[in-house]
């Protein structure tokens, strides 16, 4: 084993450890959420899905934004590792996107009575998901890794600029997604229609699960990044 492969192995080992810790944390949060917290006032049991849904949304957006950021950096630094990271982040973004697009309709069916209500946030997720499906389709059709890196970076940057326009589009199109449960103003006691901010007992596991999903993102990306580096290094060795 060369020092290069050793370094890659270290990255992957650390990635797997963080990933495992993240998974354990999510499992722990669910034990707490299902066993020890009361059902939410309006939504009942269906509310529990928020502990994966909301943090997965956060992780997916972070993943895709980072693809655009490393894309811009690539044109500056031309370091092939940036593309390996971009691909890893996009892959992990797709995984979290899949979580969003499955948990969203399950929750929607219970609360709205429809699997898909063209709610802006879910539609936004679907469009981003399709955009990155195109990113992977293009990559798989290109043989030269340098060209793959350049084109991947171009799509990453284009996608990042498209994001605000998709946001605008889906919001102007339709809006019935519940307001974000964080940072809602407290209700005055004389207004019956007002939805209160989330009680601390429900909020605490949610905040913890944002942390757990961030860990999952880091763990997944490190592992996937390591795999990408190893593939590139193996190919380079075989080409010698």
């Amino acid at each position: 084993m060369t020092p290069e492969f050793d370094a890659i192995d270290r990255i992957m080992r650390r990635g797997r450890a963080i990933m495992l810790a993240g998974l354990l944390a999510v499992a722990g949060i669910y034990v707490v959420a299902l066993r020890y917290t009361p059902p939410e006032a309006h939504q009942g049991l269906a509310f529990k899905i928020i502990y994966v849904h909301a943090p997965a949304a956060w992780a997916m957006e972070m993943a895709f934004v980072l693809v655009g950021v490393v894309g811009a950096l690539y044109f500056w630094l031309r370091d092939p590792r940036l593309d390996v990271f971009g691909e890893a982040s996009a892959t992990v973004g797709m995984v979290f996107g899949t979580v969003l697009l499955t948990t969203g309709p399950i929750w929607g069916r219970t609360i709205w009575g429809a699997w898909w209500a063209w709610d802006p946030r879910l539609t936004f997720t679907l469009l981003l998901y399709l955009l990155f499906a195109g990113y992977f389709a293009l990559r798989s059709a290109l043989r030269d890794p340098v060209e793959r890196a350049r084109f991947g970076a171009v799509i990453g940057i284009m996608g990042t600029v498209l994001v605000p326009f998709i946001h605008l589009t889906v919001y102007l199109f339709n809006s019935q997604h519940p307001l974000p449960v964080l940072g809602r103003p407290p209700c005055p006691p004389d207004k019956p229609g007002c939805e209160p901010s989330l009680p601390w007992v429900l909020l605490k596991p949610l905040l913890l699960s944002f942390g757990a999903f961030t860990m999952l993102y880091v763990g997944f990306v490190m592992t996937r990044y390591g795999i990408g580096l190893r593939d590139a290094a193996t190919e380079a060795r075989d080409a010698e």
């Binding site: 030269d144 890794p145 340098v146 590139a232 190919e235 075989d238 080409a239």
Partner: protein, 237 residues
Amino acid sequence: MTSIQAPIVDARGLERRFGHVVALRSVDLTVRSGEVVLLAGPNGAGKSTLLRCIAGLTRPTRGTVRIQDQQLRLDPAARSAVGFLSHQNLLYDDLTARENLRFAARLHGLDAVERRVMDALDAAGLTQRADTRVGVLSHGMRQRLSIARATLHAPAVLLLDEPFTGLDAMSAELLRTGIADDVQRGRAVMCVTHQPAEIWQLATRVVVLDRGVVKADMPRPPALEDFLARFRQLLAA
């Protein structure tokens, strides 16, 4: 002519990778005015990649190329110093011979476009077919038109990638006359070919490339047979 001339082509430490395949590794090459350099080497030696790097079509992974002291990749205006004859003819089949040359002339920002185009068609023996679509011209005619296209803007260096492939005797002779003429005017020529006999008498220098490395760089030996024996030795080593 002075004894020390500024090089027309000056390539330093050229390296080009396609993914993990290394096409060129650390190639240094200078070509001066009046030289005709024959680039020889087995398939996949990096000959075409070297020409494309010099022409500015391919970005070197490392190293620099200067043409008359200008870097083409930084200064597009300097690209007119290069004429490139690829093994593809770079022509539009749906345009006529005249339209193809006219378009090339416009891109190069030439003046007196119509006269230049007419002269070039004449030199290529295509005046009669000037308004025929390229798609229906014979292979030899297309090749001659392609040569006319590559030299229309009077480049300082002419890069030829397998120019004799599929060329009939008349067109090959025309190409040789053109090269001799270019050299007279102080241009430089670099030629990649599998048929060294076609250009042997005109060549002044031979460069052997193998697996992306310059194996030999020498004045042209008088006899082709001597060179071929040396060539086989070099590749076996």
